[in-house]
Symmetry: C2
Subunit: 343 residues, 2 copies
């Protein structure tokens, strides 16, 4: 299996830690001394034959610095064209180089605490994918989260360590999420897809032929002298699609998608509430402030705000609560004019 | 009238702005470019013939710096002996110098926004005090505060611009404070006392003769060569009393205390809720955070905490709400060991 790691999202709900020039995948949010993209490459090394990290030109050099000492390679996008183009380009390059191989796409900015369970799930997914399925790894839900999409699993596949996917569900309201949790049939969609390059590119040929043609032409030129000119010519013409909608959902309707359930301490660290779940960071002084979480370079006192979140950087301070962590994005949306430098 | 300005309290509910070495009376909380003690001296200048600021030796030099260009004088206490000794010493010194004169004591760290009303109240209080009453200026309450003591006023005095004081009331619970507010007879006790030195010292002679004797002996030596030796010998022996309990409450029982009501935009700025009342300081970014108030050297974002209070100093950050402002004192009570330097 070759790993494809799209590294794109800024992580604006983690402002002021995350910035335009310090996106989430370059931060060390797990506190283990590695950027998230490097931790992702390291996590995948035991179960992959190589890795392509697809990122914007703006971040390519810093991502490459993070990958020093690994065999992972950077694929630089001239501009953002969303996940289907990013993953599709990497898959087409790998197909060009190695023929029909199994590839797996994994976000560059998620955390997995149980590597053993993760590796077992990937190996199972590779086995299912080799048989021709687009295979997702679905996370066993631990709470009725409305921050994730869900996967409804169906019957076990014959002789394969996975189940059919009945359908993908949008991010639900909380009441619906509680039904999903109670059903035992629903898993969180963590955006992990494992499949043969022939299956991925074949699906694109059928469903998005313009995109498929463009990606194949770029891939054919990738390891030769015309990469830059072909990329500059074709990349801006590619359709902007996300992989779920572009191929996973349509193929699920015809029984072409499988899922491997996994319980592996996964988090997308989507906001400060999720980050706070990773580890306690109590303030120096807490008065009536259970569950307060701080990231600051000086002593912080929290008085009367349970679940407070206080984040200090050299140029800004954020004060919120775990409950309101999703609303932090609204701050970033306000950053313009004289405060654009804080973005 | 000679003004006596005790400058003692640290203002621990205003931590981290207020510190052991930056007590409240040395801060510019009103934001008008002056420390509170200097603003107090300036406010009293039009209605006084001079001022003595009584403060600890630790702060005497910095208080003197604040008073440059005024005729006010610093009286340095070797150690804190509470308000009765501080005010009594200043009164005894003034009595020694000028004979039986009217003095008025006013806290060094309160705010008055209506100087005209304040001056009118002081002039009225001086007239009542000249007739022999210990005269307090009582603040017309604007809310059922449980943070202040109350004064119950009785009948008007014949031919004098004041009323008898029936009694002083402790800080009440909220329900009781609401009764006081509804009664129309109760005023806030702002700790302002105007009286003849003969009345003050006479009351001490009767009620606290040891303290009276000590203060008279120190005052007699104050402007001569033995000040330091007499002060060092006697000051540590003086009783620790507050002026309300020591003389105002006992004399009120026998009809010797009067009150002049005043509505003058007074605040003791007792906590950040009171400071926030002085002026809006919204955060740079507010999402669901009406009434948030910040004091910081960088942009602050507040998300989901109405009435949040965020205060940054170079060595600490406080996050609380207006509602919990009184509880900030609990933080200062925790400042010891390795964090004693933040006190």
């Amino acid at each position: 299996m070759y790993a494809i790691i799209p590294a794109g999202g800024a992580g604006s709900r983690l402002w002021p830690l995350s910035r335009r020039d310090a996106p989430k995948f370059l931060l060390d949010l797990a506190g283990d001394g590695r950027s998230m993209v490097r931790a992702t490459v390291d996590r995948l090394a035991p179960v992959s034959d190589g890795a392509l990290v697809v990122t914007g030109e703006r971040h390519a050099r810093r991502v490459a610095d993070q990958l020093a000492g690994t065999s992972a390679e950077v694929v630089a996008e001239p501009s953002p064209r969303d996940s289907m183009a990013a993953i599709g380009l990497a898959a087409a390059i790998l197909d060009q180089r190695h023929g029909d191989v199994v590839v797996g796409s994994f976000a560059a900015d998620h955390v997995v605490r149980d590597d053993v369970a993760f590796h077992a799930a990937v190996r199972a997914a590779v086995e299912v994918a080799a048989a021709g399925y687009i295979t997702t790894i679905g996370i066993t839900p631990t709470e009725p989260s409305s921050a994730f999409g869900y996967i409804e699993q169906g019957a076990p596949l014959a002789d394969l360590p996975g189940r059919a996917v009945v359908r993908f569900e949008e991010k639900p309201a909380t009441a619906r999420a509680e039904e999903y949790l109670a059903s035992g049939r629903h898993l969180w969609n963590a955006g992990m897809f494992v499949m043969r390059t022939s299956v991925l590119l074949g699906a694109l040929d059928e469903l998005h032929p313009g995109l498929a043609t463009g990606l194949r032409r770029i891939a054919a030129a990738w390891d030769g002298p015309t990469r830059e000119t072909v990329l500059a010519e074709l990349w801006p013409t590619l359709d902007r699609l996300v992989i779920d909608r572009a191929i996973a959902e349509p193929l699920a309707e015809r029984g072409g998608v499988a899922v491997v359930p996994a319980d592996m301490g996964w988090s997308d660290i989507g906001d400060f509430a999720a980050l706070a779940e990773l580890g306690e960071r109590p303030p120096a002084f807490a008065v009536d402030a259970d569950g307060a979480w701080v990231h600051a370079g000086r002593p912080v006192a929290v008085v009367g705000i349970p679940g407070a979140v206080v984040v200090e950087t050299p140029d800004a301070i954020l004060v919120t609560t775990r409950e309101h962590a999703q609303a932090v994005k609204a701050v970033v949306d306000q950053l313009d004019g004289p405060l654009d430098h804080l973005r």
